[in-house]
């Protein structure tokens, strides 16, 4: 199983199509003011999982697993019917165990309470009772149908790509952890799909970009629509756009690439690629030039995967970034003042000096570790702008407070913020509850009482 994705529960039961996801959101769409808020909630929840995971000192893979659990849970449930924060805490708790890095339940409770009680989440009563979280775990594992082993694109990235040699920088950052510290007893299995041979050489910076793009994909339900190895290949593909191959004859490659992926929007990066080649070549392509040049496009083409599908996934990732451009963290004391840099995850990758606690701008941070800001800045600065629509809108929602939700209903807020989405969520849940209560009250009184009795009994047992 560890090597055979095709026999895994992940492949057999948990790759779903978008319509199943939309169907699962039907209730939520009924109670939300605008349908697009549901998409923003995907980012919002993933960020919350990330933050909780960071507080619990989780490795990136544990966070990714928790995120998958969360998405799977909401294939069967509605946001408005549940308390997503309790679910997030339980997902993290189970994911840690599933990934063999368990943490004590008390720690999860404590960290969840402190995180979610922050004003931008507005959770007033996160239970301090361990058994409440354990109870949620119990139901969660049931809804996950006990399928707790998850495949992630990181593994494919590691299997497909090797970093160029000769760069001994340390990878203290979370995003780069996996290949520097696989732990004891790491055992290279055969690649579990495809027929491709050998490995692709990526510069460390490019590798980090691919890694970060993979991180970012968890912000959308993308990660349950496609097999992880395809997501990884799409991330590698997008990485080529951001970090064009450094070999001199790569002009020939460009046309080849364009025919391979006849994606109009993906032709745009040609310009930044050229410009960055100069910047690139000086900084760290010496090693690869000394060796026999590798042709990444034919490498990708030789993989036994559907390239049109890769193009589709790449497009979806780009759409996610477009959406994300309109989403802005808030409520964090140190995030606000760098707001200008944080509107787009990709554009913020340029050499800003801010360190966002949210790690939303993963790629950017890696770049700062690996190369000088100036060498990469140009490249990064342009590419995302050309990829994404409507970025760089100046403006601020820093004053967002509890009543943002209502004031923003009128579509005036330039950004979607966590505070705002917390309000959206709260409103959905209240509406749902109210309608549920209405149904219960409408029924004969006895039955309503019976329901309450039953609830009390359940609770007593809990």
């Amino acid at each position: 199983m560890a090597t055979d994705f095709w026999t895994s529960s992940h492949y057999k039961r948990w790759i779903v199509d978008r319509s199943s996801w939309n169907q699962a959101r039907a209730e939520d769409y009924r109670y939300v003011d605008r349908p697009e808020y549901i998409d923003y909630l995907s980012i919002y929840f993933a960020n919350a999982i990330n933050k909780l995971g960071k507080k619990l000192q989780f490795r990136q893979r544990v966070i990714a697993t928790a995120t998958i659990f969360f998405r799977r849970f909401y294939l069967k449930n509605s946001y408005c019917d549940t308390d997503p924060f309790t679910v997030i805490a339980a997902c993290c708790y189970v994911a840690a165990k599933a990934e063999e890095s368990p943490v004590h339940i008390k720690l999860v409770v404590t960290e969840s309470r402190s995180l979610f009680s922050q004003s931008h989440y507005g959770v007033k009563h996160f239970s301090s009772d361990n058994s409440k979280l354990a109870e949620m775990e119990f139901y969660l594992v049931g809804d996950l149908e006990c399928d707790l082993i998850v495949f992630h694109p990181y593994r494919t990235l590691l299997a497909l790509c090797k970093k160029e040699a000769g760069n001994g920088q340390s990878h203290a950052s979370e995003e780069g952890e996996a290949y520097s510290d696989l732990g004891v007893g790491a055992d290279d299995g055969p690649r579990y799909w495809g027929t491709g041979e050998g490995q692709l050489e990526l510069t460390p910076a490019a590798f980090q970009t691919a890694w970060s793009i993979i991180n970012d994909t968890y912000r959308s339900p993308l990660c349950i629509f496609y097999p992880p190895h395809l997501i990884a290949i799409a991330a590698i593909y997008l990485t080529f756009i951001l970090h064009p191959p450094t070999r001199p004859e790569s002009i020939g490659l460009t046309s080849e690439q364009d025919t391979l992926f006849s994606e109009p929007s993906l032709e745009q990066p040609r310009q930044p690629r050229r410009s960055s080649r100069q910047a690139h070549g000086t900084s760290h392509s010496n090693v690869s030039q000394a060796k026999k040049p590798q042709d990444p496009v034919s490498f990708l083409a030789e993989l036994n995967v559907s390239l049109p599908l890769i193009a589709t996934i790449s497009q979806e990732i780009i759409s996610l970034y477009t959406l994300w451009d309109n989403y802005k963290e808030d409520g964090l004391p140190d995030a606000g003042k760098f707001a200008g840099n944080m509107d787009s995850p990709m554009s913020s990758a340029m050499g800003s000096t801010s360190v966002s606690p949210a790690k939303r701008t993963a790629s950017g941070q890696i770049m700062r570790h690996d190369v000088t800001a100036s060498s990469m800045g140009l490249n990064y600065h342009r590419t995302p702008a050309s990829l994404s629509v409507g970025a760089q809108t100046p403006g601020s929602a820093d004053d967002a407070s509890g009543d943002t939700a209502s004031s923003a209903d009128g579509n005036m807020c330039p950004y979607i913020t966590p505070v705002f989405l917390s309000g959206v969520l709260q409103k959905m849940r209240e509406r749902k509850m109210a309608s549920y209560a209405a149904v219960v009250n409408a029924q004969p009184r006895m039955q309503g009482v019976a329901v309450n009795k039953r609830l009390e009994r359940t609770q007593a047992a809990g």
């Binding site: 599933a98 139901y139 006990c146 082993i149 055992d187 509850m433 609770q459 047992a461």
Partner: protein, 471 residues
Amino acid sequence: MLDEWTSNSLTHDPMRLYRLKRDRRHIPVSAKYNIMGFISSGTYGRVYKAECVEDGQIHAIKKFKPDKEGDVVTYTGISQSAIREIALNREINHENIVALKEVILEDKSIYMVFEYAEHDFLQIIHHNSTHRVPIQIPVLKSLVYQLLNGLIYLHSVHILHRDLKPANILVTSNGIVKIGDLGLARLIYEPLQPLHAGDKVVVTIWYRAPELLLGAKHYTKAIDCWAVGCVIAELASLRPIFKGEEAKLDSKKNVPFQKDQLLKIFEVLGTPNERDWPGVKDMPEFQSMKRLDYFTNRLHEWFRTRANHAISVYELLLRLFYYDPDKRLTAREALNHPWFQEDPKPTRNAFESLLSHSHSHSLQSQVPNPSHHLPPLRRITQDDAPSMVPMQGNINIGNGNNNAGGAGHGHGIPINAGGMGAGVIGAGGGGGGPPFGSHSQTHSKPGSSASFASLSGGGNAGGTRKKARLG
């Protein structure tokens, strides 16, 4: 707009509505299975024999011990061991691994429903030892072959079993070997944590590989292969080959030097040296080891005195007992050993040679050999199973007479439907009491706690098998 109950729900028990919905949909274990009796218990919980109401199939249901605070059963979080066993079993599928049919989460307890296996290695060993007859080579070879076949699978999907021993290796009545109990198993593909981080001690002491005994932090699939070697020796001689005394953890949970167990190994295999095992000098307990008496290898002599009828397996065993984990045979190498090519060849039904007079594949003469050659059926008990077997008298429905018929029962009609109004389970087991899962308040502990104290092997009369389950 929101009444008190609603807003209360939102803030104080926000998942209440969700749970209500889930509980309503839940089909209780008792509606799906008739519990026929109790099989065994261990540190994890208890195992029951059960019949599926729908199709009459027999299963073994492993019920994890529910957590208690005082006398009240409460949620305390699913144990790492249960998570492992569930997660791994959901992914794997092989003829020689016990198959998981489903997992039922109900009323704070976890029930894992496995395919049923009539026998296990420990019981077969015990049976033959009681009757003073060795396990015949055709049977022994078939059992070992299938065991290795299952282990190859586990290792190929990067699972270390870490608790192979006779009690965990089951055999169906058709003579198919099924490796069971993945409660200590672990995926070793790209682990985030080093192997020693989670579990200080792995593998029951008698089956524990020398590198583990010498404190290795770093271990491999070879530890399972060592355990297989111990199991083969035990099948051949009908007693554990390295029956050492386990040194207990001290008060600070430090793992002590397992002197006695190492001596038991050295007495048969000799003291390891750096020529055969260059890594031995890097073992944390190397210095302690050097202080032990010196022995030379006398495995061949061991065979002559203890298991002469099985001397043909000597060479295979010798290689499974290589001290250097890198030189020790892998499961696949072991399966390719010439012993399995020699006559008698292993059979798919490990008991085939017992069914007919000859070793041929003809099953025409069904005259069985003296009955003590075939291991007896698994014993199940009624009295020892208060927490799952219905308390009312005479509930052993369907036991014996109509198992084979299967379709005898009305489909889907829950027997013991007494307490299950509207299918809501887990409501505290109040009135009428669902017959199982009702441990919450009504149940008193004597039966269960007493039997938990008994060691693994439970009904199998295995004597005092030492468990090594920590962390």
